[in-house]
């Protein structure tokens, strides 16, 4: 194996058994008679108490690696070579029975979807108690006491009431807390977190991260965090491994990986993510050209060579080993010097990294040149022309309200929202799930009818549902959906999908339709050969491109984009966002862009609206909304995003309690139950006025702009006031 030198370095410090010690691991999946190597030559060491982050795009083998570590691979996966020691224990030698026992005692896993990890038919108390009864042989009463304690340790409010509840009565964040409580109940030596916050809202995610961070101090468990969210890793982990196509391509201290990446893939990933505060007029997003190699594809050279912007002939001949990075020592020294005025983050064992001298390796011959890696897309795309034009409003939404019925309860999902949109403008809509973003979008497109209020397009009032709108109105307002796998009809070929859209929306016949379809495909950069394919033969990014082409078939004036890139990997997301910006520049189209990713919304939008509990609580230019004075909710939302900036001093503002129910929205200001800047009774009793911070930037709060500005720019973060 080519990793011999690295292995030698590592063998020097095996005095204390590592929490995880993976050597030369090879995992193969067997699929329909073919052997597909998923992981090759993985070397990994996690010390006790260390948090290790595993990043990489989907399909790189992150979850497989975690499963191999705990010997929990799917039936068609086998470990072909290498060894896995967890806490000094060779996992492969355990008998079935011993393995089960060991799973219960030494390792714990937390998955993405907490609802699926909990039994829907069991009360929380019984479920958590069961862990203690099974693993510690406690009596029912004893187990309940321990369960209560466990729930308290994960900061669930009112553990006694929670014990009596069923999982469906808890919010997603609370469910995940219960899962974490169960995972930690056995006092594991290794805690595996597989995308633990991916389905959760930003503020809930931040709470769970706080919890994990806090628990780390108390437990001596090693943490293996798997995620596609680089910000999460930056915040939580001491060391990071970057996995690409089953190979570990870079590994090192988190801070170094994110501030000074030494592998072109890591660099590419970091450049894909829009930095906070970036806007489409500043620069186009960088992308990673090409796609992940298919499983089982084996080439002699570097596995990343065909996507690498700095590939040289040697890269194609022989694969590089995991090499220590040049300038590594210097970088470390610098990092330590910077971390010296110890903030709380650096005090955690961020730098207590015992893996020997060369702590930062990259599988690249030219890691010294990575900081100067050439850009993959020109910095300035046609973005300057994007942006609102003068003239009147294209779309006007006036006090739109829509409610749903849930049994006997009435849920108002959109409560009297008004806003206007100019031609060529992008309006970003942010807010947590359940805030009414998608419902509002569907009222605009006519997929659902508003109960009251009007939607006018170019001065004309639109009929409430799409079925009753004129073909011209339908053509003008189109939509791009979230899920690439259901947005295209799986039974139709791509060409058929586009042809139908052009026929219905653009009109024309025969050759002109054909020409238009080819033109659309070219516009969204889908090669003609893919037009013959069915959606299932396309990648997620390609499907979303076709969906965008479909929306543009009739030269629309407004396209509503409902999280169009959030189901995609970051590199694909970047290219989709670039595409939307380009199309806006060339077609002068307006967007309503919905996303829960604030950096993405900030990047794409000219103006932004923030929704909370069915109300639009703040509207303003992207820049204004994201800086003080802004609504306290926006402030909290912004503070909850994990960023890649290690020196960012920003203090997270925890929101109290959980999202109130839409069926009984709080009196007065809807945010008062969770607001950290609550003034007192006035917020509880009176609906706040709409205040104007600067022209065009309004928010709904009792605190006047100058006071809010003062509060939000003060260095001392306001302590949450209890009501």
């Amino acid at each position: 194996m080519s990793d011999a030198p690295v292995q030698e370095v590592r063998q020097t410090d095996v005095s204390a058994p590592a929490a995880v010690d993976v050597r030369d691991l090879e995992v193969t999946f067997h699929r329909r008679g073919r052997d597909l190597p998923v992981l090759r030559g993985i070397e990994l060491r996690i010390e006790a108490g260390e948090a290790y982050g595993l990043v990489g795009e989907s399909g790189c083998g992150k979850t497989t690696l975690a499963m191999a570590v705990v010997r929990y691979l799917a039936a068609n996966g086998t470990v072909d070579a290498g060894s896995v020691l967890v806490g000094g224990q060779d996992v492969s030698t355990l008998s079935e029975e011993a393995l089960r026992k060991w799973h219960g005692e030494a390792v714990a896993m937390v998955y993405q979807d907490p609802a699926a990890a909990l039994s829907p038919a069991m009360r929380i108390g019984d479920q958590v108690g069961e862990v203690f009864r099974y693993h510690e042989g406690l009596s029912k009463v004893g187990a309940r006491a321990r369960a209560r304690e466990a729930l308290r340790s994960v900061a669930l409010p009112d553990p006694d009431a929670t014990m009596r509840r069923y999982p469906f009565e808890l919010s997603g964040g609370q469910q995940q807390r219960v899962v974490i409580a169960m995972a930690l109940a056995v006092n594991p030596r290794l805690l595996i977190l597989d995308e633990p916050t991916t389905g959760l809202d930003a503020t809930v995610e931040a709470e769970i991260l706080d919890l994990i961070e806090e628990l780390r101090g108390r437990l001596n468990a090693a943490i293996l965090l798997i995620t596609h969210n680089l910000g999460l890793v930056a915040r939580l982990c001491d060391r990071v491994g970057v996995l690409y196509a089953g190979r570990l391509v870079e590994e090192g201290p988190a801070r170094e990986i994110f501030t000074d990446p030494r592998h072109p893939y890591t660099m590419g990933l970091l450049r894909c993510v829009p930095r906070f505060g970036m806007n489409k007029t500043d620069a186009a997003l960088q992308t990673i050209p090409g796609t992940l190699p298919a499983l089982g594809e084996r080439k002699p050279g570097c596995i990343y060579a065909d996507r690498c912007p700095m590939v040289k002939s040697v890269c194609l001949r022989r694969e590089p080993d995991l090499l220590g990075c040049p300038g590594d020592a210097a970088a470390r020294a610098r990092a330590e010097a910077e971390a010296a005025p110890a903030d709380s983050q650096a005090a955690s064992p961020h730098n207590a990294n015992p893996v020997g001298e060369a702590a930062h390796h990259a599988r690249c011959y030219f890691s010294a040149e990575v900081p100067e890696m050439p850009l993959t897309t020109p910095v300035l795309a046609a973005t300057k022309e994007a942006g609102p034009e003068g003239g009147g409003d294209v779309l006007k939404i006036d006090t739109v309200r829509r409610s749903f019925r849930d049994g006997r309860k009435k849920l108002v999902a959109v409560h009297d929202v008004s806003l206007a949109l100019k031609r060529g403008e992008t309006f970003g809509l942010v807010g947590e799930s359940g805030s009414g973003k998608t419902t509002l979008a569907k009222c605009v497109t006519g997929l659902i009818a508003a109960d009251s209020g009007t939607v006018s397009f170019e001065g004309k009032r639109l009929r409430p549902t799409a079925g009753r709108r004129s073909q011209a109105a339908l053509r003008a307002i189109q939509m791009v959906f979230q899920n690439p796998d259901s947005t295209l009809n799986p039974a139709w070929s791509t060409r058929a999908i586009l042809t139908r859209a052009v026929r219905k929306l653009g009109g024309g016949s025969g050759s002109s339709v054909r020409a238009k379809v080819d033109e659309l495909a070219a516009d969204v950069r889908v090669e003609p050969r893919f037009l013959l394919q069915k959606p299932m033969d396309l990648s997620g990014g390609q499907k979303q491109r076709i969906a965008i082409a479909r929306a543009f078939a009739g030269d629309p004036t407004l396209v509503v984009c409902d999280e169009p890139a959030s189901a995609l990997d970051v590199s694909v997301q970047a290219s989709i966002l670039n595409l939307l910006v380009e199309l806006q520049a060339s077609e002068a189209v307006s967007y309503i862009f919905i996303s829960h990713d604030l950096a993405v919304v900030r990047y794409l939008s000219d103006r932004i609206g923030v929704m909370y509990l069915a109300e639009l609580i703040e509207v303003g230019s992207a820049e204004e909304v994201f800086k003080p004075p802004h609504h306290p909710y926006t402030e909290a939302l912004l503070s909850s995003i994990p960023t890649l900036d290690f020196d960012d001093p920003h203090q997270r503002i925890p929101l109290r309690g959980s999202m109130p129910s839409l069926s009984e929205p709080p009196s007065g200001c809807r945010f008062h139950t969770r607001c950290h800047r609550i003034l007192g009774d006035i917020c509880v009793e009176q609906e706040p006025p709409i205040q104007e911070a600067v022209t065009g930037h309004t928010y709904k709060c009792h605190i006047p702009p100058d006071e809010l500005l003062q509060l939000q720019t003060a260095t001392e973060p306001a302590a949450p006031i209890e009501v």
Binding site: R32, S58, G59, T63, Y72, H103, M109, Y111, Q112, D113, A115, A116, A117, L118, V179, D194, E195, T198, G199, T227, H228, N229, T445, G446, L447, A466, G467, R469, Q471, L474, I477, Q478, M479, F481, Q482, N483, P484, D485, S486, T487, L488, N489, P490, A491, W492, R500, A501, K504, L505, M536, D537, G540, A547, R550, S566, A567, L568, D569
Partner: protein, 297 residues
């Protein structure tokens, strides 16, 4: 340990990629997968055998109608492999020829049920609302009636030609099919491509037939084979009870009914058609199982 379930992003992509791979594999290798399923293959062999018999047995065996008063109720011998019946007709020839009627009635009845059930399921699932409520309650009423008793009543009322038997079985199976189709439509209509077609101003019938129908063929095919098995069964039951086919038809149900008085004297007269009937039902059910397993993968 709990299973990872797709949510919104990262892992979902993985799951989706897997699902897409799986689907691609399914369509492209559906036949290959079926051919590798022993269940499906054994079912197919049985059913194909009976189809061949229905089509060509008259060229292979003696005539099923040739009466021979000289050799009635003969035990199986080299001349008559399955013996003869009370009129001296060759039991083997009649058993083989008996496949003809049942393989005519059952598939036609099933096709009618799929057609009507498909239309009802599409409409109720797509429009929901009042239409759905009313039709589905009617379906519940129909489902609460015992199939055989109801068909006897209807056949007594309308007369019992083969055509009416087919229609009656078709009608009685319609509710079950419509339920299956409706639930598939309900799942499919919430998908984003259906929303996209509404934003294109497509007519409802186009969305139903052009967009949704091609994506619910899997459940429809599986439901069809399930119904086919029951249709064979029901057709045989009805002819056993004297509805539909009349003597001298070699139909299995009818033969079992007419020959059952000789069952102690000449068990082969009943045994062979009974085995034939059972084997066909088992064959169809094996196909159903095979299909169901491949589709649900």
């Amino acid at each position: 340990m709990p299973e990872a379930v797709a949510g919104r992003t990262g892992q979902e992509i993985q799951a989706n990629a897997d699902a897409a791979l799986e689907r691609r594999w399914q369509r492209r290798y559906l036949v290959a997968a079926l051919l590798r399923s022993p269940t499906f293959i054994s079912g197919l062999v049985i059913v194909v055998f009976w189809v061949l018999m229905a089509l060509f047995s008259m060229h292979l065996t003696q005539s099923p109608f040739d009466v021979n008063p000289m050799s009635t109720l003969q035990a199986p011998s080299s001349a008559h492999w399955a013996g003869t019946d009370d009129l001296g007709r060759d039991v083997l020839a009649r058993t083989m020829a008996g496949a003809r009627t049942v393989l005519f009635i059952a598939p036609l009845a099933t096709i009618l049920a799929l057609l009507w059930g498909g239309i009802i399921g599409l409409i109720t699932g797509f429009y929901r609302g009042l239409i759905d409520e009313v039709i589905m309650r009617l379906v519940d009423v129909l489902l609460s009636l015992p199939v055989v008793i109801t068909s006897i009543l209807i056949l007594s009322l309308l007369g019992s030609s083969t055509a009416i038997v087919i229609v009656v079985i078709g009608v009685l199976f319609t509710p079950l099919v419509s339920r299956t189709v409706r639930s598939a439509v309900l799942r499919e209509r919430e998908r984003e491509y259906v929303m996209a077609s509404r934003l294109r101003g497509e007519r409802s019938w186009f969305v139903m037939v052009g967009e949704i129908l091609p994506n619910i063929t899997g459940p429809i095919i599986v439901e069809g084979t399930v119904r086919l098995g029951y249709a064979v069964f029901t057709a045989a039951t009805l002819s056993f009870l004297g509805y539909g086919l009349q003597p001298p038809s070699p139909d299995w149900g009818l033969t079992i009914a007419t020959e059952r008085v000789f069952v102690q004297l000449a068990p082969w007269t009943v045994m062979f058609p009974a085995i034939a009937l059972a084997s066909l039902v088992v064959g169809v059910n094996l196909i159903t199982d095979g299909l169901g397993r491949v589709f649900s993968k």
